[in-house]
């Protein structure tokens, strides 16, 4: 059950204008491994939600785009790491409709529904890291 | 004094091969329609050539499984091929077990002066070959799982036909259980067909869906909502009385969805939406269809 990373792409997100290039980079990687259009759309939409959260709550951060394989699955793993204030109550933040900002509160739970694997860790005052995986046909 | 099975058995390789193949051929379970004699012989000989030299006193005594890796690999290949060709587990297992029988027989015939040694050596060989049987079984099942996975994909592909039943009206009969993977395929096919045909109404017929629980209902609602986002309406038809009962008992709210009991009544409803009328040609008014 080992996950092997085949390629790694690091991008810093510091302003809103970085979002579209980041999405394009995710798309390029997804196209490379022949992900279906629907799964591409889901992945990029999830990425868009998470990168927006990162900008809004932590003023930016670092993203890693990786092409990974596990047994006979191929997919994309995205990591969003920031050094923001952290999320005090993750369970609460994962609920639909919960938002501290003026959004719909669909960001985290919505993103989770769009991908195959979703992991979040957060430490108060240190920052938040979200890792998502979307398999090519998952 | 220990018995050197490697040397002893290698000397008798020809005999082992013949008896092994005869024993396989004698077995009723052998599928001559699936594997030719030549192929069987080639398979078996290759395996013996790999296995016998490894049966040195050291290897057998230590019982270290990893030295037999080349054999395991060969067996895995055979098991996978057999799984895909449709052999039964019994046929596949017999391949290894028949070898064990032959090897132990030969050993017994050769070693006549050392019953204790014979017993111990048989016991060890038994253990090693049983290990192979386990391997062959594991890989066989894995091979079958692959076949099942591929078939599942195929079924998902072919079981969601989108039919254009009228200009602007699509019908999609769903047969079988509606899980989230299936819903995905249904939605994708349906929405793409809506775009391709420019249809404004889709009828989802669920007569072939065995049961509707809250999860299935949720999938249906999702499909309807996605259709509406595209700018088309979605009607669910084929709701049997039992389904209506469970839906209400489970407290599922389908009020946002147009539901009809039969495909015919759904089509009628679609005609109304499109302001179409169907008339008998004998009727005095305007002919067949009036847009």
């Amino acid at each position: 059950m080992m996950i092997i990373a085949l390629s790694k792409d690091i991008m810093q997100i510091i302003r809103e204008q970085d979002v579209v290039p980041f999405r394009n980079r995710v798309k390029e990687n997804a196209v490379k491994i022949k992900m279906s259009l629907l799964n591409q759309t889901k992945l990029i939409t999830a990425a868009s939600e998470l990168v927006r959260n990162m900008l809004k709550y932590a003023g930016g951060g670092q993203t890693i785009i990786e092409i990974i394989t596990k047994e006979r699955l191929t997919g994309i793993r995205l990591t969003f790491a920031d050094q923001g204030p952290g999320i005090p109550d993750i369970q609460q933040a994962m609920k639909d409709g919960y938002s501290t900002g003026k959004s719909l509160g669909l960001g985290l739970p919505g993103a989770k529904r769009l991908v195959n694997e979703f992991a979040i860790t957060s430490e108060k005052g240190k920052g938040t890291t979200v890792i998502i995986i979307k398999w090519t046909n998952g | 004094m220990s018995i050197d099975s490697a040397r002893l058995l290698q000397k008798k390789k020809k005999q082992i091969l013949e008896s092994w193949i005869n024993s396989q051929l004698a077995e009723d379970a052998l599928r001559e329609d699936m594997i030719s004699n030549d192929e069987l012989r080639a398979n078996s000989e290759e395996l013996l050539d790999t296995l016998l030299p490894l049966l040195t006193p050291k290897n057998v005594a230590e019982g270290d499984v990893s030295v037999f890796d080349p054999v395991t690999e060969l067996l895995s290949g055979i098991a996978i091929t057999r799984a895909k060709q449709g052999f039964t587990p019994r046929e596949t297992a017999f391949y290894v077990f028949s070898l064990k029988e032959v090897v132990l027989n030969i050993l017994q015939n050769e070693v006549t002066d050392d019953p204790q040694g014979l017993y111990e050596e048989s016991f060890r060989l038994n253990k090693i070959i049983d290990g192979f049987a386990v391997t062959i079984f594991e890989t066989f099942i894995k091979g079958r799982e692959e076949v099942i996975l591929r078939q599942t994909d195929e079924i998902a592909e072919i079981s969601t036909p989108v039919i254009r039943i009228w200009d602007g009206i699509l019908a999609l009969p769903i047969i079988g259980t509606l899980d989230s993977a299936r819903t995905q395929v249904v939605m994708e096919n349906l929405l793409e067909e809506i775009v391709a045909t420019g249809s404004s109404i889709a009828i989802l017929d669920i007569s072939g869906v065995p049961a509707v629980d809250s999860l299935v209902a949720q999938h249906l609602i999702k499909t309807v909502s996605a259709t509406r986002l595209m700018g088309a309406e979605c009607i669910i038809s084929g709701i049997r009385p039992e389904i209506a009962q469970t839906v209400v008992h489970l407290g599922i709210d389908l009020s946002s969805i147009i539901t009809k009991s039969t495909l015919a009544s759904a089509l009628k409803h679609a005609f109304q939406i499109l302001k179409l009328e169907v008339k008998k040609p004998g009727a005095k008014e305007r002919p067949f269809i009036n847009k």
């Binding site: 919505g110 529904r113 | 994708e188 404004s200 996605a226 595209m230």
Partner: protein, 136 residues
């Protein structure tokens, strides 16, 4: 700063979004459009998103806002040409855009708008517009 052009066609405003929007651009579109509805007294707004490959919750909210704001200003909004993959993703995301009218393409959208406005003329009370289609 980039701007999304808003075309005026009689009583209607037509917006075609050709690029993937970043947030500020979307916010600008929202305010420009509402200003424009007020200035031109438009009765309908048609937003063509057929070239948009990603609609996330932010974009979804902007679309919803435009529809609600226009409705207050007595104009109907129709979103046309949504890609199938975008529609499915929005549903999974949990954003069915209830309250926004949709149509398959610009032509259908125009027809729908005309119908809506006609109905509105006869029945001033009908302001809910909760059903997504002109159905029936």
């Amino acid at each position: 700063m980039d701007k999304i052009p808003i075309l005026r066609m009689g009583h209607f405003l037509l917006v075609t979004i050709q690029v993937d929007l970043y947030d500020q651009l979307a916010l600008n579109l929202e305010s420009d459009l509402v200003q424009m509805v007020n200035k031109t007294q438009a009765k309908g707004v048609l937003i063509d998103i057929s070239a948009v490959s990603i609609v996330d919750s932010f974009m979804g909210r902007i679309i919803g806002n435009i529809a609600s704001m226009s409705r207050i200003l007595d104009a109907q909004t129709v979103v046309v040409g949504m890609q199938p993959a975008v529609a499915i993703t929005l549903i999974e995301l949990g954003l069915p855009l209830t309250g926004v009218h949709t149509a398959l393409n610009v032509e259908r959208g125009m027809t729908l708008l005309k119908e809506k406005i006609l109905i509105g003329d006869y029945d001033e009370d009908d302001e809910t517009g909760d059903d997504d289609n002109s159905a029936e």
